[in-house]
Symmetry: C2
Subunit: 474 residues, 2 copies
Amino acid sequence: MAQKVTPRSKDYSRWYTDVVRMAELADYAPVRGCMVIRPYGYALWENIQQGLDRRFKATGHQNAYFPLFIPLSFIQKEAEHVEGFAPQLAVVTHGGGEKLEEPLVVRPTSETIINSMLAQWIRSYRDLPMLLNQWCNVVRWEKRTRLFLRTTEFLWQEGHTAHATEQEAREETMRMLEVYRDFAETDAAIPVISGRKSESEKFAGTVDSYSIEALMGNGWALQAGTSHFLGQNFARVFGTQFLNERNEQEFVWQTSWGLSTRMVGAVVMVHGDDQGLVLPPRLAPIQAVLVPIWKSEEERAQVMEIAQGIQNLLEGVRLRLDDREGYTPGWKFNDWEMRGVPLRIELGPRDAAAGQVTLARRDQKGSKEAVPLAGLDEQVPALLKEIQQNLFDRAAHFREEHTQYPEDYAGLAQAVETGFAWAWWCGSAECEARVKDETKATIRNVPLEQPAGRGHCIVCGEEAHEQAVFARAY
Amino acid sequence: MAQKVTPRSKDYSRWYTDVVRMAELADYAPVRGCMVIRPYGYALWENIQQGLDRRFKATGHQNAYFPLFIPLSFIQKEAEHVEGFAPQLAVVTHGGGEKLEEPLVVRPTSETIINSMLAQWIRSYRDLPMLLNQWCNVVRWEKRTRLFLRTTEFLWQEGHTAHATEQEAREETMRMLEVYRDFAETDAAIPVISGRKSESEKFAGTVDSYSIEALMGNGWALQAGTSHFLGQNFARVFGTQFLNERNEQEFVWQTSWGLSTRMVGAVVMVHGDDQGLVLPPRLAPIQAVLVPIWKSEEERAQVMEIAQGIQNLLEGVRLRLDDREGYTPGWKFNDWEMRGVPLRIELGPRDAAAGQVTLARRDQKGSKEAVPLAGLDEQVPALLKEIQQNLFDRAAHFREEHTQYPEDYAGLAQAVETGFAWAWWCGSAECEARVKDETKATIRNVPLEQPAGRGHCIVCGEEAHEQAVFARAY
């Protein structure tokens, strides 16, 4: 890692790609628009998966797996759905050396094929709610791609649930949005705004879409997770019915919700700095790196013995002992800083003699603290917790600094240059489109938490009863 | 679950499909040759994944993720590889509404695309060994499919490693074969034979392939995992080189190894019976089901209170409390037997009064034992261990009964009708082909553990220094 990343201030976009590639999170694949997730990036994704999967299971969901291939005719059944996804489809036309009778689509999302199965499985209200999730890859053909943020193939989870009543399905939609918010804020240390997507930005084929929106280091927004209330749209076209308690056939009410490897990109962009990655301890594949330092063989033996002891002491911490030969301590420090390891534990001969180690936090450049070996098993976890909180606070502070509440259109146009702009919106697609055309900013969502009262649309001046959050977005 | 499975003795193949579908492990998808893995089947797969992933990480491997799509030209680079896989490819010809310049293949396996990346990542011997694994879906077009055993799309893990020397790569090949054997025998309770595949049965593009072979309930073999020594075959065509310690460019030595959702099929076929599934406790999604039984409301309150206590007591056990209303205890017993839950804990008013429960083992039909509540936290885990061992012993005994050591060709032809046949083999492809043509049995592998001495080929009578295991196979 002799290379340095491009400074954020110089070129944010290059900084991002540099960090992702130099920290070995991911690499471009030889297939257009696809990426390779390298071990360090995949370990981060595994921690994201665990944090979510635990929450999904705690809320009663079960994992399953549906086919990669979807008959083209399925996608075409729901009119809005096909309109939204048709331009992004990858199509298999040949299999086993022969041309297929019906082309198969590589799933861009699985509402259709899952409904085709639910229609077989669900008979009566006793089979409901059916709460499913799958972890899988999906493909959406993209013209302009960026590692993790927008790639032709990506990994995600997609939850799909079926309910007996509209209310239950609406509750589920909000429950999973809240799971995403909790995950983003608690595990990824990323403050997010939960809200409803506008008509023009919602998922193709849904009644209502909701999202969590995070603010990146360059003042752009990133949609980090979505939860949809599908109504009965897919149930109608696939005939997903159940016998209700009054003995009548009724279409099920559905939801779907997804969060993808995009979240890795969000972690990079929210917390990273000019030294590289900064990882929140709860998601970091390596929470602390222990760097033993020695000159003589005698010192080496002494230091390594203590290092072993520290490893045993910190059993519950994801600790890496970096005893690589042929690298200077300074080189190692830089290497682990680049990779965003939250805490560095330095152990030199002087530390060893004094029965202490030197701790350096990744989130506070230049801070070093000598602490006694005794009690390290309490101090390190406590410090990791503190770092986690500090990253969240820092991101929340940054967001606050980059959020404006403009009172007129000129103010809105200026505000979205640097971050979020909250403003009254009359709800019309015309006003939304004008902002997009003129400022490139979109309505990220209509936040669930609204200010009191009413106002006037920042675009047309008509009465408005909701505020929307506008921003440039990935 | 009022339905009954077709008895094994009547129609083994239908029995298998009945069990898989009625126990809700999987279902046929609306896409030809594909399956849907239902929550119960997927939970079983998750336990298989955990058992393997833990072992992979303990042996120094890291997970990563490579693209689903592979340029057709990559597959064509290795001559044997393309010959083996060409008839099975699914081909994407259109993406984003346009015809692709170069068709993309949906990965049937990832040696080629991984080598294209390794060639970029590996510079010197310091980068070696590189020990990677990925969990993913793969597609191989199949004419005749069967749930879990042979489907067009399946889930698996594929390990891919690169080493500085042939010896290291060969050691890795055997290490991972042993990991598979240990997993199959310890976790899945399936005794397997570890051995080398013959030239005609080996993986397309490899130097040597090894497998673990299990015997199914109908006397057929199932290849349950494979480990390949790739030599430098892929490294040569992709230019995967490293600077060795003598400062010379050298091609890396590679391995790959895979185990798939096929293992679920093996578990069904090895342990299942005419009542349905029988799951080994280490893999069972539900290790014990607690069925409370009552008639009056008073009994219900009493029984449910004790049931809660049992749940707390058995915290470390994957326990399901079946307090569903509207089903008789007998119906529940049958339902959980069908689903193969290893242990049933019955708790009726009489049990409650006596401070006991009644335990029924899935692996011993009709056995019931009343045991006191006190000590259940030790007894249940001990019993699960005993059941795990009993399933293995039973499968080993079955295999022993269905293994023959024929001394002449007629004996071989007869032996492969009912199970494994160990016989001396001269090593020639002609003798192997004759057996296949005349008996439909193939050489499953040449076991690593060989009898002492030498013999004469069971087909041609020439001198032979190895025995092969012959069987009909899935």
